[in-house]
Symmetry: C2
Subunit: 79 residues, 2 copies
C-alpha cells in the first residue's frame, strides 16, 4: 500500500474566481501581505502496489483533473 | 515574496462523499488498485515578507479551513 497525493490547480492563464474571492476577503480583513491566492484540489489516494506511475497518470489526467483548464502534480508520500 | 501552500483535508472521522464518489467511479472504471480517495482543498498563496508563520496560521485556521471538520498543513515552498 502506498499513499499518493495529487494536487490539481487551475492553469496560470485560467481565471480563478474562488482564489480571487479568498484574496479579496483576506485583504479586507486586514491581512495586507497576501498578494495572491489560487485555489485547487488536493487528493489523497491509497493505492496498492499494483498501481504503477503510468496508471496514476491516467487517473489524474482522466478523472481527477480537467486537462483543458487544470494542471496537476502527482507524488508518492511516506505514511 | 514567498509562496505558501495550505492543504486542507476533511478530518479522518468526517465522511468525505466527494472522495468516496471518486473512489467508486475509479473502481467501476477498472482501476481496482485504488482503495480510498479523500478530497480536500489546495491553496497557493503569494505573501510578502511581512507575513509571519503566526499570521499564516490565523489565515489558514480562520479563513481557508473549517476547524470543526477540517485539518490543514501549511508549508513554505521554494519558487
Amino acid at each position: 500500500m502506498a499513499r499518493v497525493v495529487v494536487d490539481v490547480m487551475p492553469k496560470p492563464e485560467i481565471l480563478d474566481p474562488q482564489g480571487q474571492a479568498a484574496a479579496g476577503a483576506l485583504s479586507r480583513l486586514g491581512f495586507t501581505g497576501v498578494t495572491e491566492v489560487r485555489q485547487g484540489k488536493h487528493f489523497e489516494l491509497e493505492v496498492d502496489d499494483s498501481v504503477d506511475d503510468e496508471t496514476l497518470g491516467k487517473i489524474a489526467e482522466g478523472f481527477l483533473a480537467n486537462p483543458v483548464i487544470e494542471e496537476w502534480t502527482i507524488r508518492r508520500v511516506e505514511k
